[in-house]
Amino acid sequence: MQVKWAALGEVFLVGFGVAVSVVLLFTLGVLGLSARATARERGAGGGVGQALAGVCFTACGGVVLYGVYLIAFG
């Protein structure tokens, strides 16, 4: 009986770091979209919101692609 506590701890830390970061990034992106929608209603461009959303969603996309890479070739 050798429980790999270190590996379990690692799974928790890595999982926590990655998942919470992705969720926060995505939430920031959604906030960007929301800011853009509000700005557009006032007749402004909403460029800042759009840029924020673009950056965040691109970063999330990168993480997803890395996930697919891990599944396929890991």
Partner: protein
């Protein structure tokens, strides 16, 4: 001649197990997307089926032992494997009927342990492995995934408090489609492999393949198709429990839960601490529920689910033991086990028809439960 007939029976049974594995576990990836209306029920299971099919072909790494060292592979005969499979299938059907998400891997391990114990002796089962392969992961998986999903959904609800709720609903539903797909893909690579491993091992023990052989192409193709077909049929009863029974899920929670599940599954399989998909996904959903509003979680349902997890291994071991013992007595025994397995399956199927849950009723039940209709994107309320 008798041996090869037995192999045919075992292969067929393994594919049936693969099928039950598919429809039992659709809920893991898709329940929250269906509950939040990110995907229509039929679309969700179709997407999940395709990803499971793709996933089954993606991974080339086949586990050398299907049992992960739980039982002494050298002392297993095809008849024992057959008994173990019947035990796993029966338990999967029973838990599906009552709508409880239990681990298909545990059912398989349990069936194999029971069948091996009774026909090859207790010393052919490596009990020490039980703790580190099954008990600790079973406790750790829902806790790890739950804490992560809880943190994620808690932070999300803090942040989106003042944002436009229509944009929030749309955005997270879109994100959920991606994160749920990732869970499906990861599931396909893991679970179809188990069936391929079983069929290959059986053929090796029967001398039809050389030792250490990889699965032949037809095994890969048929296992992939069986799990995809099972996924497409959709385990609506379990989808209802996970999507609606544990807690009411909104889009941001669904996203946090799927993201947590996908990350934990991937991290666990790459850092050497395998966790059951079912336990991770159920834990994530409960965690996402706690992260928004703890009283919304129906702890009674969660308790029943945990009870099912505890019982899964011993219960399928019991069925596996009887089936394994009987089937290793010879052709008559094997036929008897097959007949009994079919009878149980037919009985559960008939009982399930009396109170059917399908793509349509899953959606209806949800709308009845929640008058504000989470399916309508523009009006989806996000309470903070």
């Amino acid at each position: 001649m008798e041996a090869s007939l037995l192999v045919v029976v075992v292969v067929a049974t393994a594919l049936i197990f693969d099928f039950t594995n598919g429809f039992h576990d659709t809920a893991n990836a898709m329940a929250s997307s269906i509950a939040t209306g990110a995907l229509k029920p039929r679309t969700a299971v179709a997407l999940s089926a395709v990803l499971n099919l793709v996933g089954a072909f993606l991974s080339v790494e086949v586990a050398k032992t299907i049992s992960g060292g739980l039982v002494d592979d050298a002392r297993i005969t095809p008849a024992v494997v057959f008994g173990g499979l019947v035990g796993a299938i029966v338990w999967n059907l029973v838990t599906w009927f009552v709508g409880l998400p239990s681990s298909s891997s545990h059912a398989l391990f349990g069936g194999l342990i029971g069948a091996t114990w009774i026909s090859a002796g207790a010393d052919a089962v490596h009990f020490a492995k039980l703790v580190d392969k099954i008990l600790v992961p079973a406790v750790a998986a829902p806790l790890v995934a739950g804490v992560i999903a809880m943190t994620g959904s808690f932070l999300t609800y803090r942040l989106v408090r003042r944002a436009r709720q229509d944009v929030v609903g749309r955005g997270f539903r879109a994100g959920q489609v991606v994160s749920a797909s990732l869970v499906s893909l990861a599931h396909g690579t893991n679970d179809a492999q188990k069936t391929m491993g079983i069929i290959t091992l059986t053929m090796i023990t029967a001398g039809m393949l050389p030792a250490q052989a990889g699965p032949p192409t037809w095994v890969v193709v048929s296992a992939a198709l069986a799990i995809a077909l099972g996924t497409y049929v959709g385990g609506w009863r379990i989808i209802r429990t996970l999507g609606k029974g544990l807690t009411s899920i909104e889009a941001p929670q669904g996203f946090a839960s799927d993201a947590s599940a996908a990350t934990v599954i991937l991290a666990s399989s790459h850092l050497g601490f395998p966790l059951s998909t079912t336990h991770v996904c159920s834990g994530s959903i409960v965690g996402a529920g706690v992260g928004r509003r703890a009283p919304d979680v129906r702890w009674g349902v969660a308790g029943r689910m945990v009870l099912a997890w505890l019982v899964t291994l011993p219960a399928s071991a019991g069925v596996g033991a009887v089936a394994g013992k009987l089937s290793s007595t010879g052709v008559v025994g094997t036929v008897a086990v097959a007949a009994m397995g079919l009878a149980v399956g037919a009985w559960i199927y008939r009982a399930s028809r009396r109170n059917p849950v399908n793509a349509e009723t899953v959606a209806r039940a949800e709308q009845a439960d929640e008058p504000e209709s989470p399916v309508e994107p523009a009006s989806a309320p996000v309470t903070v």
